[in-house]
């Protein structure tokens, strides 16, 4: 009994030692990654870049974009390339994510669609805001999608205002593009 107990104790000690070493290694690796990102501040592996249709919008530091789009009464207005999602040498997973939308003037709109497309025009995710009563209703595809190295994806926005909409009314939308490496 004593010998077996000692053996078990040795195994547990060994496992804990191995675990401490593994944890320490992983922690150092993680810290190194964070340091690298901090050093090269303007070269995120996946960056937002202004597209041909950004108009009065802007992109700051590849991480934040502000967009201003119009919506015409009863007409579908399409911004095919409002933003480009530009990947570097890594192969991350990417997804669209809804954050918030302001319902104040929801009934002035028919829809606001935000679509993520790959370089061949294949849909990789969408956030479609339609209107029910006085509120926006979201249907979405927010699955993680693998992005190849050096790939450039595209964000398209489609809008339509209601036939009875009031000029100047707005809808503020916040969304995110999550990146996982």
């Amino acid at each position: 009994m004593n010998t077996k107990y000692k053996k078990s104790l040795k195994i547990v000690t060994l496992l804990i030692s191995a675990l401490l070493i593994a944890t320490a290694s992983a922690t150092i690796y993680y810290s190194l990654s964070v340091d690298g990102t901090a050093t090269v501040d303007d070269t995120y592996p996946v960056a937002l870049v202004a597209g041909a249709d950004i108009g009065g919008g802007s992109v700051t530091g590849g991480r934040t974009a502000t967009l201003a789009v119009s919506a015409y009464l009863g007409v579908t207005l399409t911004y095919e390339n409002v933003l480009t999602v530009d990947n570097g040498a890594t192969t991350p997973s990417v997804r669209l994510r809804h954050v918030s939308i302001d319902d104040t003037y929801a009934d002035d709109f028919v829809f606001i669609n935000i679509v993520l497309l790959d370089g061949s025009g294949n849909q990789k995710g969408y956030l479609n805001y339609t209107v029910s009563g006085s509120a926006f209703v979201l249907t979405s595809d927010t699955d993680w999608e693998a992005m190849a190295a050096d790939a450039n994806w595209n964000i398209r926005i489609e809008t339509q205002a209601a036939a009875t909409a009031t000029n100047g009314h707005t809808a503020d939308i916040a969304i995110a593009i999550d990146v996982q490496e």
């Binding site: 992983a26 502000t66 789009v69 095919e80 709109f109 606001i112 935000i114 503020d172 916040a174």
Partner: protein, 185 residues
């Protein structure tokens, strides 16, 4: 009793080891997650280009949609006027997206016409589409273009040509699609 204790001790050791390993998986994975944020504001705006009836047409949605009705033996009839409400240039294109009962149309031609340079956009001959869309046509700042139609049929009935008037901002891929339906009786 001794045997039971040994088995229990081994199982406990295995269980603890397993729990510790599973619990530290995230540490070992070392993945990086971050989010890029997009703040968009959509504003209801007056259309920058509007349609106006010249003849045989009805206008809807604040000048962004129209129905045109013409009869057999219509020739070079201006039916709609396209008005540029801005000082910016736009590019226009008429694109067929659907049709109904066009076999009776011996000829139906629709074109843009600013008085000097016409641009054929849609042509049907002997019930077949010869041209379902046209080249881009410049609408200058503050300018006016007409939509003109010629149509003839060989039997009684009603034919429909459903089109989009595409209005493209030059050097971008920003565009609006206006619905214009042509009815030939």
């Amino acid at each position: 009793m001794k045997c039971w204790c040994t088995v229990k001790s081994r199982n406990l050791t295995c269980l603890i080891s397993l729990l510790i390993l599973v619990g530290t998986l995230n540490i070992a994975k070392g993945s990086i997650n971050f989010a890029e944020t997009i703040q968009a504001t959509a504003s209801v705006s007056s259309p920058l280009v509007t349609l106006e009836s010249v003849s045989n047409s009805e206008i809807f949605n604040a000048g962004t949609s129209a129905n045109v009705t013409v009869s057999n033996e219509t020739s070079n009839l201006n039916v709609l006027r396209i008005l540029n409400q801005t000082k910016d240039e736009w590019q226009l294109q008429l694109i067929k997206y659907d049709e109904s009962n066009i076999a009776r149309l011996t000829n139906c031609t629709i074109w843009f016409n600013n008085g000097s340079t016409p641009s054929k956009q849609i042509e049907i001959s002997d019930g077949q589409f010869i041209q379902p869309s046209g080249d881009y046509y410049n609408l200058v700042g503050g300018g006016v273009d007409n939509i003109t139609i010629t149509a003839s049929t060989n039997t009684a009935g009603t034919s429909y040509i459903y089109t989009h008037l595409k209005i493209l901002k030059p050097n971008t891929s920003t565009y609006a699609l206006y619905i214009i339906t042509f009815e030939v009786t």
